[in-house]
Assembly symmetry: D3
Homo-oligomer: 238 residues x 6
């Protein structure tokens, strides 16, 4: 039934490859099927102005897409002179998701910027970004710990994200581009390794959805997040 | 327990005042307690480029805040030279919410722009904006119907929005600014008059939340949306 | 003769309503007939860079127009990415006019920003803005005096503004939109309560004007400013 | 009494040099003392969008200042990314002033852009710009007439501009920079060769001014404009 | 002598990998040692405005760098709101270099945009970009030929680029970052497979250079370009 | 053979006029035939942020073109909101060229900004700019020396620039606009008075060029630079 032949509760093949960027303190190349995102985590000594002198750190994210990550070429945002509303929305979501599992006081007065650059886009770029950026972030924090730059345990939990949607009447897990275009309801779930919610964003693209449909999506999401959390632990050698 | 003395399931006093802008095809001044938003709906004959010639219309929204709607003066976005990520995120949400209850083919090839300008901000500006913009939109569509500019019934349902959150451990309805700042979980619900979901956005500001907390917020939201939908019907004389 | 039925030397109904913005140190909703402007005065502790450390304060103004204050929707300047030349010209005029009646040394090293946001536009938005912003400014200075933040008497005089023009050959006071579009000469006068000029801007929109026409406009302006000054005094309880 | 030793009613040495820009249809290098402005008039076949197809032309102006026209280097507006409010105000004034003496229907559907670039600034750059741009404009219109591109007589009158001010209590003509900085009242007059007003802008920089002071400035302005108009006629060989 | 232990006339290990971007008509991942650039070539049916209707095509390039391609994080140009002067200079060079080997009339009225995005930067990103973009361009033109979209043979020759410099007194080929920082003279050569020059850019970073030094760099460049051209032919199966 | 009737190795008439800008510390109006550039050098006490506190100075350049320096009017960059890639490329070249002959430590912690504004453009604006800016720079450094603001001899050598190209098969010196448009190869040479190279930029506009053609251009360039260096010395009274 699904264009890819997957079962409704099947995720695409997911891979997480660490240490792909020579110069970053942490990095991860994440693939959700044909969606590929290069995530780097950069430790910088300056924090945003409003945090200065408060002894707390900050975790933030930026998101970009290579012009030909998409089926037809997308205009480069640096040429357009600004980031689109969609880009800003996504990078704010990634930043909030990562901050939910970091103790900013333990981090000390540094900023970690997670850059998520989409090399290939086939649906689910924001969920892949969150899942991969977490891995890059863990390595950046390890890098800090090895240099005794933190003030205790900065990581509280792990975090991952997955999309679900109602495709031709059936709730399915991890939409690819073909499904995303057609799905009547589209939801993104960001959850911790402990199984709690960090963020839920459900949107009726066509007809509004009801409580039972939302419940079905949640069940799928919990399954998917469980699998992603295991993969994160495994690749991080935990 | 709540700073305002409200019960957990109490909304603030809500008012919806129609026809407040002399020149707009539809308008509504909406108040959720001390939050006040002026909503106008403008009918324009041009649609976005990618819709041209397809016989369909479009509904979009823009959001702004007067500089001194807030406790300390906020920089004017026209001076800053761009809309913030937050502003873009909110206006995209308002636009999607309104489109969920409009038959764009019945609308014909016109664009209705709903401007939501916050005169006073005390929490819940996006939910008040959606609730008020719907009223302005209905009047703009009536204005079109009176001139026989639509191609049949363009309105499918009504739409309203409300926030909920977990404040000092208790799920509460319709957060004001003092509660919003302190709440550990904050969720916005956009629902139709028929009781279905158009959009859910739940965010853990502090600790992640679990399924039972989310369920409690949904119960509150359904109550609140029910009351808002009744008020919308009443003020529209339906 | 005038579209509104007014006599040549009649102003429109003018109202000045104080304390309309909960959070601002001073505020005034001013109406010149159907033109309505919300003016707020915000006291801020930082002054422009070039004034820093000189023991003097600053009064400045910003001007904006809600998109549907006008007959057809005007593009939002925050979306356009910049303020128009007209907007900048108007806000510079408002700022100069207010500074003319303030002793900046007595103010101390603070900045008062007067925001003038047009809710409805029917001609004369800049003159209404000046007249209303003065009332908001007075209340902001009173707020400072109550907290003993000034260094003596900061207000030197009052200030108000009115437009005049030559409409179908007759000099008339306080042009509304219909007159403004058609008037051959259009002049704005900013004057103090003591009857002196702060600013005169006369423009020949069609045929150039001569000295006697200018003299006739000045007589009207003096009458109008006199009435506005009385209203300002009255609403301020002076 | 004046820093330059001039009498109150003396203008600075004024020169108007035609045909200084090889490629422009009209050009004039104007000097008011040490203030020097290069004015070019360019005939272009496209008019602004809102005029298209109406059979009318347009005259507009742009104003700029070389970075080291001023005592200390001024930031280049192309680097800053936008024109300042002051620049926009001035170029709007120049454009209005020139349009006041042109019959836009006789011009036909073309646009003439007058660029006024200040090579040296010593006060009065906007009045020098108007006075010089008129000469450039006349030559551009002659260029069109020689090619029979106009539809009749496009020039209605001549136009020139001069500043006046109250310097140390005395009304003086044509302020230079030293006087401008100190003057309590500063007024710019744009007048036609026939002696009528196109624009008056009087501003109290310090204390407000009264009717008799304004009258004294007008007398000076009329004298100055008379002299400038004669020079324009003379240099144009009329 | 060189930090990498290379001989003066040694290039770094160069790899060219085709078809790395699923959606692009042509693509190549090029590595010059640790410098890695992802090049894609996108065929689009619209040409720049000034070429429209002339029956000719266009080849252009855009250049970007992922924020953490560099040792310390570089600000994202999309966030800064504009491309730097360096970026524009590089992308103009890439575009000119590619156009030198394309018959734009044979291409027909299409535009091919070559995006060069630097994943890792270790010196020589512009020369790697040109060398890799050529491979992507060839594949995009093949894609067109397979669909009979060209009007004859569009490729005239091959093109590649290499840097040379004077490092601690010795002319060396293919500078890496450590050498680039220290080199007194830095030159980029763009040459065709036939051994002719498309572009030479030599810059004295420290002391000016003389004719004999330039000659020595040219000899190195010819050697390097020869090797790069062979690799391009080989990977393209020519 | 050349449109101007010049011999292949003839430069256009070159003039260098010092002290043309009253307020700048150094200035030069340079003409290469009909190309005219006004160069000013401004001494400022602040250096770029990354140089602060290092006891070194900086020399930088900005380039602009008056809108009607060209045959048809060019859009003003201040209106466009940014400098073009071409402008940035040129001003970076001018800055690098000037820095090549300045000892930045001897300069002390000041910045000298050389503004090159093209009054008339007929080809070779960048080479004229470098040649003229050097003269302005020398005068600015003299101005500093007279005030004992330098720390020893800041000028190392002189610098000038000239273009060469292959026009209708013949190598020619100092291309004018008509030649530039048609030339198959275009090269700019920046050289010191001592005859060394600071920068070489050779571009094949049409067919690639070979080594012997490049050699022929170098011979011409050396001749031209020799003449320019003499003129610079002469006008500077050295």
């Amino acid at each position: 039934m699904r264009p890819s032949g997957r079962q409704p509760s099947d995720m695409r093949a997911v891979t997480l490859e660490r240490n792909v960027a020579m110069k970053a303190e942490g990095s991860c190349l994440v693939a959700f099927g044909n969606t590929k995102v290069l995530c780097t985590a950069s430790v910088e000594t300056s924090v945003p102005g409003w945090l200065r002198g408060k002894g707390k750190g900050w975790v933030t994210a930026e998101y970009g897409m290579l012009p030909r990550a998409t089926g037809s070429r997308t205009r480069r945002e640096a040429t357009a002179g600004k980031q689109s509303g969609r880009t800003q929305e996504i990078q704010r979501l990634i930043g909030r998701s990562l901050r939910a599992v970091v103790d900013l006081e333990a981090l000390g007065e540094v900023q970690i910027t997670c850059d998520c650059d989409v090399l290939e886009a086939d649906g689910g770029t924001r969920t892949a970004s969150i899942t991969g950026a977490y891995v890059a972030l863990v390595d950046a924090i390890k890098w800090m710990e090895e240099r005794q730059l933190t003030r205790g345990k900065a990581l509280i939990d792990s975090v991952a994200a997955i999309s679900c949607g109602i495709y031709r009447g059936t709730p399915v897990l991890d939409l690819d581009y073909l499904e995303d275009v057609e799905a009547h309801t589209d939801a993104n779930f960001v959850m911790t390794g402990a199984g709690k919610f960090v963020e839920i964003q459900g949107t009726a693209e066509g007809a509004p959805f009801d409580r039972s449909e939302l419940d079905a999506l949640m069940v799928l999401a919990e399954k998917g997040i469980g699998e992603l959390s295991s993969m994160q632990k495994s690749v991080l050698g935990q």
